[in-house]
Subunit: 134 residues, 2 copies
DNA sequence: GTAAACCCTAGGTGTTACACACAGGTCAAT
DNA sequence: ATTGACCTGTGTGTAACACCTAGGGTTTAC
């Protein structure tokens, strides 16, 4: 049986993260009758590693909870896994498109501003650099 | 003098967002002696529009607060504005790189999974799709 | 005149995945 | 017995709001 810090070392995941996983129900350690400390089994090492791999693939912790729930109910989580990742892929595409267009706007603005002089506050404009872009 | 909802309509910004700007000090309305309602002046319309333009350029609300503070102190915010956007540009590049590599991983995973059969929970693996990717 | 419909307010919660801080209990070694 | 390291739960902060509640005001329709 492992304590939080031991599980942390075994998985290279911070104790705070592990406590967080416990608090949202991803991990369900038993408690030491002596001191109330959380006690994890060997399966929890695999579980934490699974969480990390899934997170690295774009799954949210809530997604992972869903996968665990399915798995626990004896259902195959695989169809849900395919559905979820398809959603995350779509979301990520939107995010990428947004960030790319933001990048464009920022680059354009900075380039334009390089050649513009500073302006003092005049009670009219707040920052003429930013307000120069309509 | 405008109420929250009037300012909202004048700027196409939700009342909640306007209240949020007030709560963090970006806007400082006076209060109606009658009913305690927030009262905004015409300058606040320009201010909200400025906030939106700056946000659209990647500035955070805290950045915008800094700009307002400089401007209020009689300093030119322009040098700070250039510095800040350079930082945001760098951050955005990192984020883009991350999201692009995530996209790659997700696409690869989904493609691989399309041809894999579902697996039932077997007490060993949680989800063999995810665990198939080392 | 009154009731419905709609306006406003402050304050609290939820969103994501933790990091950090705090006050106090626990443990091994000295 | 004390020190120092480690543990506990709980609460706060992060970004920028959206949503909800409970309460009060106002306007409009009948």
């Amino acid at each position: 049986m492992l304590t939080v810090s031991e599980l942390s070392k075994a998985t290279q995941v911070t104790p705070d993260a592990i406590r967080h996983y416990v608090s949202i129900g991803l991990l369900t350690p038993s408690r030491s009758p002596d001191n109330g400390y959380k006690l994890f089994g060997d399966g929890d090492i695999r579980k934490v590693k699974f969480i990390r791999r899934a997170k690295g693939l774009g799954f949210t912790l809530r997604d992972i909870q869903t996968i665990f729930d399915n798995s626990h109910d004896g259902l195959s989580p695989c169809p849900a896994v395919r559905d979820i990742i398809q959603q995350r892929i779509n979301e990520n595409r939107s995010k990428l498109a947004e960030l790319n267009s933001l990048q464009q706007r920022m680059d354009d603005a900075l380039e334009k501003w390089q050649s513009m002089p500073d302006g003092e506050p005049d009670g009219e404009a707040i920052c003429h650099l930013i307000e120069s872009l309509i």
